[in-house]
C-alpha cells in the first residue's frame, strides 16, 4: 500500500455530527499504512437537495471538488460518506459517458473538470485495496461476546451501475472485513433496507417507523451492536433511538458503531482517539470488554479444558444416582 496515495474527502457530516467517523477512518487508514492528502478548501457535495433541483447543477457542485483533487495529481478519492461518494460517482460516470453532459457541467464551473478521479468508500478501499489479510494482520485485541449486524444502508452498493462495488442485493464486504478482524457478525436480512434518514427532520414519525424495523431486525438476527458506514444511518439509528422508543413504545438500547470504530478497537487504539465518547447510545460495555488476543486465547483454552472436565462430572453424578436407586 505504501507507494499508492489517495485523496481524502471528509465532507460536511464528518466535520460535524459524524466527527467520530472521520476520526476512526483516519486512525484506521494510518494503522494500515494508507497514505492520503486532502484537497484544500473543499465544498459541500450538494447531496440529496441538489439533485432535486437539477442534474447538471448537482454534478457541478460535486465536480468542483473532483477538480480540486485532480489538481493535487491524485486519481482516487476516499469518500467515507455514501452520500458524497454517490454524488461523486454519478458526476464522474455521467461526465465520462456523455460529452454533452460534461460540457454542460463544465459551463457552470470556474475550471473545467477532466474526469480523472474515481471515488471509493472507505469500505471499498479497505476491502479491495488493503485486503483482508492486511486487515487481519494488524489485530491485537478481541471483543468477546460482541455480535455485530453489518448495516450497509441503501446507497453504498446501489445502484450497481453507479456503485460498482460488492453485491447490490447481498453485499458481504463489511461482513468479511469485520470477520477478518476477528469480530462475530450476524446474518442480517435488513442490511440494505433504507432507514429513511434523509427525512429525519421533515417526516419524523415515518422515519422512526422505518428505523424501528431496522433495529428490530438487527436484534432478531442475534446482534448486540450494529456496524454502519454512513453518517446519516448512524445519526438516525443512534441519535434518534430514543425517539424511536417513544414513537413505537420499544425499549432499544443497542450501540451503533462505525465499522471503523470497531476496527480501531481491535487494533488497540485508545477509545477517545476513535470517538467512542461521541456515541449517544453508550458503547462503554463494548470498550470495557476489550481484551488482548493473547488473553482471548488463554480464555478459550480454559473454556476448552472446562468442557473436557464437565462430562466426567456428569458421569460421576449419574453413577451416584444409580447407586442411590439401587
Amino acid at each position: 500500500m505504501a507507494e499508492r496515495e489517495y485523496a481524502y474527502f471528509s465532507g460536511c457530516s464528518l466535520e460535524g455530527t459524524a466527527s467520530e467517523y472521520d476520526a476512526s477512518v483516519r486512525a484506521v487508514l494510518k494503522e494500515l499504512n494508507v497514505r492520503f492528502r486532502e484537497p484544500d478548501d473543499w465544498s459541500c457535495c450538494g447531496s440529496t437537495p441538489a439533485h432535486t433541483v437539477d442534474h447538471v447543477f448537482a454534478a457541478a457542485l460535486a465536480a468542483r471538488n473532483l477538480r480540486l483533487i485532480e489538481k493535487l495529481g491524485l486519481d482516487t478519492v476516499i469518500a467515507p460518506c455514501p452520500s458524497c461518494m454517490t454524488v461523486f460517482k454519478k458526476a464522474q460516470y455521467g461526465m465520462t459517458e456523455s460529452e454533452a453532459f460534461r460540457n454542460e457541467v463544465n459551463e457552470l464551473l470556474d475550471e473545467p473538470y477532466n474526469c480523472g478521479v474515481e471515488s471509493k468508500s472507505a469500505l471499498q478501499v479497505l476491502f479491495e485495496d488493503v485486503g483482508l489479510d492486511a486487515i487481519a494482520e494488524r489485530v491485537t485485541h478481541a471483543l468477546p461476546g460482541l455480535k455485530v449486524a453489518p448495516y450497509y444502508g441503501c446507497i453504498l452498493n446501489r445502484p450497481p451501475e453507479i456503485a460498482r462495488f460488492d453485491d447490490p442485493e447481498n453485499p458481504v464486504s463489511m461482513d468479511k472485513v469485520l470477520m477478518a478482524a476477528g469480530v462475530e457478525v450476524t446474518n442480517f436480512a435488513f442490511k440494505l433496507e433504507c432507514c429513511g434518514a434523509a427525512f429525519g427532520v421533515t417526516k419524523r414519525e415515518m422515519v422512526n417507523q422505518l428505523t424501528y424495523k431496522v433495529l428490530s431486525m438487527a436484534i432478531d438476527s442475534g446482534a448486540n451492536c450494529i456496524a454502519v458506514a454512513c453518517p446519516l444511518c448512524q445519526q438516525n439509528l443512534d441519535l434518534r433511538q430514543e425517539q424511536v422508543n417513544k414513537t413505537m413504545g420499544s425499549s432499544f438500547n443497542i450501540p451503533i458503531l462505525y465499522f471503523t470504530q470497531i476496527l480501531g478497537l481491535v487494533y488497540g487504539l485508545p477509545p477517545r482517539e476513535i470517538g467512542m465518547d461521541k456515541l449517544v447510545v453508550s458503547a462503554d460495555e463494548i470498550v470495557y470488554s476489550r481484551i488482548t488476543v493473547e488473553e482471548m486465547r488463554k480464555r478459550a483454552e480454559l473454556e476448552a479444558q472446562a468442557k473436557v472436565k464437565k462430562p466426567e462430572k456428569k458421569i460421576a453424578k449419574e453413577e451416584a444416582k444409580t447407586e442411590e436407586n439401587e
Binding site: C12, S13, E15, G16, T17, S19, D41, W42, S43, C44, G46, S47, T48, P49, A50, H51, T52, V53, D54, H55, V56, F57, A60, L61, R64, E107, L108, L109, D110, C154, I155, R158, P159, P160, P168, E169, L192, E193, C194, G196, A198, F199, G200, V201, T202, K203, R204, M206, L210, L239, R240, E242, Q243, D277, K278, L279, V280
Partner: protein
C-alpha cells in the same frame, strides 16, 4: 387510489419531457410491481411507485406532479436495482421531482423547505452549517421545535459546531448557483 379517467387528455409532451430529461424509456415498464414490492416507502406513498410509472405511461401529468410520492422518495435505489426492464426508476422519480419544483407544484412543502435551507447554507458558506440549516428550517416551516429533543444529546456529546465554517472558495460555489440560475432563466 382514486379512479382515473383515462379519456382525460393524455399529455404526450409530458411523457416526452420526462423521457428526454431522465434518459429513460417509461414504456418499457410492464407493471410487474417489483419496484413497489421493494420500496420501503410504499406504505406512505399516495401512489406506489409502479402506479407512478403507469400514470406516466398514460401521460397523467397533474396527478403525478401533485402526488406526495415523488417527494417522499428517498432515492434509496431499490427500485432501480430490481427493475427487470433495467429502467432507472429512481432517476425518473428524481426527474419528476425536478419538474414539479420547476413548475412550482410542491405537494410536500416541508421537504422542499428543508432542501432549500440546505442549499442556502451551502451557497452562503460553501459547506453545510448544520445548526444554521436546522434553525432556518424550523423558522420557515413554522415547526419551531423540530428535533429540539435532540439538542441536549448532540451538545452533551460535543457533536456540533455552533459557528459556521466559511471556505475561501465560497464565491466559486455561489457562482455555480448563479450560473445555473441564469441558465435556467434563459431556457425558461
Amino acid at each position: 387510489m382514486d379512479a382515473i379517467n383515462l379519456s382525460n387528455k393524455t399529455d404526450w409532451s409530458f411523457i416526452e419531457e420526462v423521457a428526454k430529461e431522465s434518459g429513460q424509456n417509461p414504456s418499457l415498464c410492464y407493471q410487474c410491481g417489483n419496484c413497489t414490492a421493494g420500496c420501503p416507502y410504499s406504505h406512505y406513498f399516495d401512489y406506489p411507485v409502479s402506479q407512478i410509472m403507469r400514470l406516466l405511461q398514460a401521460g397523467q401529468k397533474d396527478t403525478i406532479l401533485n402526488s406526495k410520492a415523488i417527494w417522499l422518495c428517498a432515492t434509496c435505489e431499490t427500485c432501480t436495482t430490481r427493475c427487470p426492464c433495467e429502467i432507472d426508476v429512481a432517476h425518473i422519480m428524481d426527474t419528476l421531482r425536478i419538474i414539479a419544483r420547476r413548475e412550482n407544484r410542491v405537494s410536500e412543502k416541508d421537504i422542499k423547505i428543508f432542501y432549500d435551507a440546505f442549499l442556502d447554507s451551502m451557497k452562503q458558506f460553501g459547506r453545510l452549517y448544520e445548526v444554521g440549516m436546522l434553525l432556518a428550517y424550523n423558522l420557515k416551516s413554522g415547526h419551531l421545535l423540530t428535533d429540539a429533543d435532540l439538542g441536549p444529546k448532540v451538545m452533551s456529546h460535543n457533536k456540533i459546531h455552533f459557528l459556521p465554517h466559511s471556505i475561501k472558495g465560497k464565491d466559486q460555489v455561489a457562482k455555480i448557483f448563479e450560473r445555473y440560475q441564469n441558465k435556467a432563466k434563459k431556457h425558461g
